[in-house]
């Protein structure tokens, strides 16, 4: 199954992409995708435990199970206002 990961702010800088398609083998959680990203983009680890996640533009946590076609957004703590 396929999902799209999009990133913002410093996560985008550390990963070097703002949007990327990922192929997942079987049942995967947000945390599974995150661990794969940590392996590929080591420097992202410095934001571990601070990162925020949204699936299809709704906040979720790492345990959220992904569905085919989901949009997973990963970003650092927000700082608007």
């Amino acid at each position: 199954m396929k999902i799209v990961v999009n990133t913002f702010s410093s996560v985008k800088t550390l990963c070097g992409f703002s949007e990327k398609e990922f192929n997942l083998n079987g049942k995967s959680s947000v945390g599974d995708v995150l661990n794969a990203l940590f392996k590929e983009y080591n420097t992202l680890i410095k934001l571990k435990n601070k990162l925020l996640f949204a699936v299809n533009e709704e906040y979720c946590d790492e345990s959220k199970i992904l569905q085919d076609g989901d949009q997973l957004s990963i970003f650092p703590p927000v700082s608007g206002g």
Binding site: F8, S9, S10, V11, T13, K46, L47, K50, L52, A54, E57, Y59, S73, F75, P76, P77, V78, S79, G80, G81
Partner: protein
């Protein structure tokens, strides 16, 4: 009335003030957020805001709906800039009108406090020495 704008252009504050409030509203409370020059690191020249637009608008909408649930308010406008914002320009304005002032104060405070926690918008500070820093708490 509820209105949310995410825009690159400067905010027309007078327009927003004239839009909020019916003839039954005795109070308008207005919050204006501006970039601050004195960061902990060095002097800020300007700020750039990046937004996850569609989700940011949805999150602001949720916050405004919560405020309308919590307090008897009449009108609410939230306008947030993205892109480059200079010192003394408004990066955000929140305007709320209500019959009595207590609820306008409470809801504006609630809205700005919550926006700063949950709305996917990020700032990068650009300093006078040419450096910059993303606010990601890393």
């Amino acid at each position: 009335m509820k209105k949310i704008l995410l825009q690159k252009e400067q905010i027309d504050i007078e327009k927003a003030i004239n839009e909020v409030g019916t003839e039954e509203d005795g109070a308008v409370v207005f919050f204006i957020g501006r970039p601050r020059k004195d960061s902990s690191i060095c002097e800020v020249k300007y700020i750039e805001y990046e937004a996850f637009h569609s989700m940011a608008v949805k999150e602001i909408e949720k916050i405004i709906n919560d405020a309308f649930q919590k307090w008897p308010i009449t009108d609410c406008i939230v306008i947030h800039r993205f892109g480059r914002v200079e010192l003394r320009e408004a990066s955000i304005i929140i305007a709320v009108s209500s019959h009595h002032r207590e609820e306008a104060f409470s809801s504006v405070k609630y809205i700005i406090d919550t926006i700063k926690k949950t709305v996917p918008i990020w700032k990068t500070e650009f300093y006078f020495d040419g450096t910059s820093r993303v606010y990601d708490r890393s």
